[in-house]
Symmetry: C2
Subunit: 452 residues, 2 copies
């Protein structure tokens, strides 16, 4: 019986996984390619914010870290829309005031590493994995001085992110399917600092969006009362990262499209010119598992675009599902690994599609009055048909409903809402008994489609 | 002006490309990972046969090798079907007796290498490319003794096949899309030797198919009067490579499904057990080109499954198109490489889909009387509407019509033939003036769809 587990990557998923495996009595060792971010400053020091939702909280609760992270998390109960015409609107995410939570990736990772070590996990930093010899169960590592060494493992998890070394060694095996694709937009981080009197410059219990059709900016609150803003913008075309070259062009673009934000962004020009432009990849691979000795998890298995705020949440759900399989199967990894893949792969494919779709929704549809109207109707349906209708957003963000189910429900909800909205004003119609009776039938038909 | 070109791979595409580039006055050097197959026996010595068709012949003609290869090519004018019930049928490929040609891969490659060297191409063998440093334009090579060396290049073509080293170095670059996927069937080579009196055991001007719905066997003639047979068979399930384990199971399977072939296969059991089971991959990548210094071509850019017999033909068409672009743009590689990618990528994607579809057609549909009927109607339409209707098979195999056009035509032909066949017996109906007038309208509609 194998009691020793090796993990590649001490990021969010690797750290949570290590704690959950320790709770089941395994010896756990992590090899991390970066330096220890608790002792050395990494990158430009600007944290990318995460939106923690129900699936993420569950894994933190299993790991015993929920309360500590809640204390540094800022609830965002809806979208605060900054429209093209200068108007603003607020769309609540849930019908009962549910929130997603802005959390600093760096702070969360530090706390998770502390917890892992407190639980007896050994983490080695600056260990670049060149190659995994799957057949001989050996990691080929290189330390910061360039010294190479090998490490034997019994069971290896690759929690080493979108450009995983374990995955690279798996995709050259016969009959391994693999796909990576980039969207035509990239992103750049910008900043809205606290106001002169040290306060948030905007409503802070909201996720701010400036939807501009084929591009957008978003802003998430930080505990230091700043907002981390991200511009999602095409690489090529007009306007695009490519088309904005001079200072004058950059400034004119922001003043035209984000006039309310520019006065709150004193370092806009420096940030725009100094911060990198990053790309957005989706990764799919099958299988995730090699015999009973190696398994991909988190971004390494299913990197997705960030538009549903589900990348970390999906990775944490992987950890929760694996923990439940450990409870069910004991130490029988021959059963656990195939069951893990079978349970997670369809949901990983589904959340990848949901995330790609949500870019269109965020940058484009949310600016449409029809869309705002639809959100109000969805909320009413959720109350009126409690337990029978729940919006896809709520399923994804505020439940443990499998992503594949939510994706399937999306098409059915598009059908139902189109049917309702083509009848005219819903909130007037619903007072009418005939319409209400017809609605009951449509909801039944919707349920049939969803559970098909 | 760059007059020196480096090619990875002395396979079919690399060799033809080298000759065409020499004809334009370039110095050409090829690095090939395998030993020289003209002096050392490679593998089990059994050649995989190719089906040379119109696109392939064109490149050979440009290279000046058409006549020499024609002398070792065996024309196959149609499919010879060995049906489940023991009956046989012959389906001509073209309406005018056109043929595809069975050619030995090994013989063709040897002749192409000879021609390349005779034209002044320098080929280095046993040169494994570990890595291509795209930025510094350097190949990192390893020879058979394990000695590493680097080679500078000005312009590099990766003609190094489905598992291309150049492609591997390109797919780790930011914003490079990549996909590899395997079908659920693999293949195994088998053999029908010449008869006791030294003759072909079956009609030799045909491609033999034993279609058995979710698997099939094919047989192509060789100049030594043997047939190379290939079993395409699922890896898992029943029956499958996985399910046939004992000698008794293997023999019973062949006797049940290929009773007419078994008596012609004296080495069946040894061949089945000794020959490897190989997988079938499709590869897509974008971009194919790195700046003006590196470009993928052939299988390295677009590996496909073999069911349309178009893998080599598509790679040779790449060479012809590149040759035409050289005529058009002179030495302006800044123009040639993007134009090459723009011209070829949509057609490579299309032939990948055509090839996947043709597996279904070969293993399944050709066994259906409806399909045989359809082929006869297509032939009549091709004569009756000469210049307006040409079957997809003929477009792909006997013309230079872009693959993307043929793929588009496939859906339109499915529509047209369904429309015709739901009216009952075509060859009776066509005598009727009203039907003939209606048919004229449908063909017009078909043309609209195809040219949309």
């Amino acid at each position: 019986m194998n009691r020793s587990i090796t993990i590649l990557g001490a990021g969010l998923v690797g750290s949570v996984l290590s704690v959950l495996l320790r709770k089941k009595g395994y010896e756990v060792t992590i090899y991390e390619r970066r330096p220890d971010l608790r002792v050395s400053q990494i990158g430009a020091g600007r944290s990318i914010n995460l939106a923690m939702s129900t699936r993420g909280w569950k894994a933190l609760e299993l790991a015993g870290l929920r309360e500590e992270i809640e204390s540094i998390a800022i609830p965002m109960t809806g979208r605060y829309l900054h429209q093209d015409d200068g108007s603003a609107a607020f769309q609540p995410y849930g019908k009962n005031g549910e929130a997603i939570y802005s959390v600093s990736r760096g702070e969360l990772n530090k706390k998770l590493m502390d917890l892992a070590e407190a639980n007896g996990v050994k983490i080695y930093f600056n260990q670049i994995c060149d190659h995994v010899d799957l057949q001989h169960k050996q990691l080929h590592l290189k330390d910061e001085a360039g010294n190479k060494h090998t490490v034997d493992y019994d069971l290896l998890f690759g929690a080493d992110g979108a450009f995983s070394a374990l995955r690279k060694s798996m995709t050259v095996l016969d009959r391994t399917d693999y796909q990576q694709f980039y969207i035509n937009s990239g992103y750049k981080e910008l900043c809205i600092p606290p106001s002169a009197n040290g306060e948030f410059c905007m409503e802070h219990n909201a996720l701010h969006i400036w939807p501009r059709h084929n591009f957008m900016m978003i802003g998430l609150p930080n505990t230091d009362k700043s907002f981390t803003c991200t511009l999602f913008f095409p690489f090529e075309g007009t306007p695009s990262f490519d088309s904005l070259q001079t200072d004058a062009e950059i400034r004119a673009f922001f003043e035209q499209h984000f006039p309310d934000a520019v006065p709150m962004m004193p370092t806009l020009m420096e940030d725009y010119k100094n911060n990198p432009t990053s790309s957005l990849v989706t990764v799919k691979v099958a299988p995730w598992v090699y015999q009973s000795s190696a398994c991909l998890i988190g971004d390494a298995a299913h990197a997705i675009v960030p538009f549903y705020g589900q990348g970390m949440n999906a990775g944490f759900e992987d950890c929760s599902v694996l923990f439940e399989l450990l409870e069910q199967h004991g130490d029988n990894w021959d059963a656990i690994l195939p069951a893990f893949q079978q349970s997670r792969k369809p949901n990983a494919d589904a959340v990848a599609e949901l995330a790609l779709n949500n870019f269109i929704e965020m940058r484009d549809k949310v600016a449409d009055p029809k869309f705002l109207e639809r959100k109000k109707i969805e909320k009413d349906l959720g109350i009126r048909f409690a337990g029978r209708f729940n919006s896809v957003y709520e399923m994804v963000s505020f439940s443990h409903t499998p992503y594949a189910f939510a994706l399937n429900a999306m098409a059915a909800q598009d059908w139902l809402l189109a049917k309702i909205m083509e009848q005219g004003d819903y909130f007037q119609n619903i007072e009418n008994a005939t319409f209400a009776a017809g609605l009951e039938e449509w909801v039944k038909e919707y349920e049939g489609k969803v559970h098909a």
